[in-house]
């Protein structure tokens, strides 16, 4: 049986910053449960001595030189912002963490 509980879905959605309704939570828990049970077969395929591949073609040491390339103008930077003010991106107040 799947370990994907509604509470876990709620927690994951909060980490992923997606608002979910109770109904969505139930539905996602069911769907994800099935998917997770299926993909969990990977754990059977591997043992400790297999190395992980995170990049399909082995490469290393790719750098750019420390030189300045053209930036966007302020106007361009803000051109697709939902809201801006005073040359900056404007957002609602941030949750008080202090």
């Amino acid at each position: 049986m799947s370990e994907i509980t509604p509470d876990l879905v709620r927690h994951l959605a909060s980490l992923a910053r997606i608002l979910v309704t109770d109904q969505e939570v139930e539905q996602l828990a069911g769907e994800l449960g099935v998917i997770v049970d299926s993909v969990a077969t990977v754990t059977k395929a591997v043992s400790g001595d297999v190395v992980a591949t995170s990049h399909p073609i082995p490469m290393a040491n790719v750098y750019r030189e420390d030189v300045i390339l053209p930036s966007l103008t302020q106007l361009q930077a803000l051109s697709s912002a939902p809201d801006s003010n005073d040359g900056r991106f404007k957002v609602n107040a941030i949750l008080d963490e202090d």
Binding site: H11, S14, L15, R17, S54, H55, M59, A60, N61, V62, Y63, R64, E65, D66, V67, I68, L69, P70, S71, L72, T73, Q74, A77, L78, N85, D86, G87, R88, F89, K90, V91, N92, A93, I94, D96, E97, D98
Partner: protein, 499 residues
């Protein structure tokens, strides 16, 4: 919020063992950013040093700045770290509006440098070896401005504004292992350690190292345990403590606060805290929780950093003298007393004095200018003495004129004022302000005679042996000469007249 209760520092130290850990973020002074070609430049108009990559626009990709890797390796070497043969970037995932991609490209389990140490000498001469766990590369976030509300703080703000000019500026985060055994010296050790890191990155010229600009920032971890206990206590992490004094105060405050709670049988909450310099205390931020699941994974848009032995050796060759060694060398060469030298270090004027000396001034005169008159002027203007618009060469030039008798100390101060006021080089100031010393003895004697005429009893007093009576006449002469006379010479002339 209610004021927190504290134990006295002495009692706290008596009862508990202090364990500290420090995370120092150093902003590198590369020309361009860590992962894109935007200028790494402080103080530009908002959102002008930005591009698709550092704005996190869909489709953009990072590309690693070679110089930033080089500087990171250099810092690792300066801290006697091992350099990773296979370092990797990783994504640290969390949402925050100053983080353009909502993940920070950082390093996780494969940092560029690890397992180092640095020796730190306290004021008493006591030396601590601080163990370094790792130094890793990452990118800075943008800058938030909170608008509305009373104080510009995050609390009560109506909205916030984001400037991404700083987003993607290269950072090296240096993390210590837990530091044990500093006892009552823990606060001082913390501050001295951060100063040492700052001095190292500054002397290597890999960072501008200005703490007031946030080039060097510190997170301080503090925990206490009962003396003799094995298990580490719960720690708190105080974020972004940005001056040496604040670091010392933060650690001291946390020791006292935690000691009170523990002594009362309470529990320390593992949390992030903030230091308020103005109010002299830390306050709780959010507790550590599941929300801190950063879901690190290897950055798939970048390939591993595998520095060759040759490259590392090449970087090692460029490492400058270690600050501790340099300090020893300069103190000996200059013959400064310990107290004098500490003064220089505390006001962070080693570079300026060294430059002034190499421009021809004697070490003592250079020291007096920078820690005396110039420090006073800077203080009055509320700027850092290093930021005054006068160069070590100009200071040395003025000192040369004093040494040759062309300026008195007093006139020299006027020359300095002129230079600071933007009136040009010392010679130009002397010329335009008419500050040349009056060496024409005829003019001096005439002024003395004029002063004596209005104070006829003075000569008598001098002849009676009351030499201090000459003072009034000297004053009058100096006033007549608008200060541009050598007072000692005026005194001699008066005494001669009295014979």
């Amino acid at each position: 919020m209610a004021k927190e209760q504290l134990m006295s520092y002495e009692d706290a130290i008596e009862r508990f063992e202090v364990v500290i850990g420090l995370e120092v973020h150093v902003e590198l002074n590369t020309v361009s950013k860590m992962f894109c070609g935007c200028a790494n430049n402080f103080g530009s108009e908002p959102n002008t040093n930005v591009c698709p990559t550092c704005l996190g626009l869909p489709g953009s990709l990072p590309a690693v700045n070679r110089k930033a890797v080089e500087s990171s390796i250099a810092i690792g070497l300066a801290l006697d770290c091992q350099i990773a043969s296979n370092g990797r970037f990783a994504r640290k995932n969390y949402f925050y509006p100053d983080l353009a991609k909502n993940f920070q490209t950082s390093q996780f389990d494969e940092p560029i440098a690890f397992e180092g140490e640095i020796s730190i000498e306290l004021e008493t001469g006591e030396v601590f070896m601080v163990p370094i766990e790792r130094a890793h590369m990452e990118e800075d976030a943008g800058k938030l401005t909170h608008v509305g509300g009373a104080t510009g703080r995050i609390q009560g703000a109506e909205y916030s504004l984001v400037d991404y000019n700083r987003a993607g500026v290269p950072l090296v985060e240096i993390v210590t292992k837990p530091i044990y055994g500093a006892l009552d010296k823990a606060p001082e050790l913390a501050a001295t350690y951060v100063r040492a890191i700052r001095d190292i990155v500054k002397s290597m010229n890999v960072s501008d190292a200005k703490m007031e600009r946030g080039n060097v920032r510190c997170d301080a971890n503090v925990s206490l345990r009962e003396k003799g206990a094995e298990k580490l206590g719960t720690r708190t992490e105080t974020k972004n403590v940005n001056s040496l004094k604040s670091i010392e105060n933060t650690v001291r405050y946390e020791i006292r606060r935690q000691a009170f709670i523990l002594a009362a049988g309470g529990k320390i909450i593992q949390e992030t805290r903030h230091w308020h310099e103005d109010r002299g205390h830390t306050s709780a931020g959010r507790p550590k929780s599941d929300a801190d699941d950063y879901r690190y994974f290897p950055e798939p848009d970048l390939v591993p950093v595998q520095p060759s032995k040759e490259w590392i050796e090449e970087i090692r060759q460029t490492l400058s003298e270690k600050p501790a060694l340099r300090r020893k060398r300069l103190q000996t060469a200059w013959g400064f007393a310990d107290l004098e030298f500490r003064d220089v270090l505390n006001s962070d004027l080693l570079d300026e004095i060294e430059a002034t000396v190499s421009a021809g001034a004697s070490p003592q005169s250079a020291r007096k200018w920078w820690t005396g008159e110039l420090a006073r002027l800077a203080n009055a203007q509320q700027v850092a003495v290093q930021d005054l618009p006068i160069t070590p060469e100009q200071v040395a030039a003025i000192q040369r004129l004093i040494d040759s008798g062309e300026l008195t100390d007093r006139i020299a101060r006027d020359v300095v004022a002129g230079v600071l006021a933007g009136e040009g080089e010392p010679a130009e100031v002397i010329e335009s302000r008419g500050l040349k010393i009056v060496t024409d003895e005829g003019a001096l004697i005439a002024a003395i005679d004029k002063a004596l005429a209005s104070q006829p009893d003075v000569m008598e007093k001098i002849r009676d042996g009351k030499l201090q009576a000459a003072g009034a006449v000297i004053g009058a002469v100096m006033q007549e000469m608008r200060g541009q006379a050598d007072a000692a010479r005026v005194r001699e002339l008066i005494l001669e007249r009295a014979k």
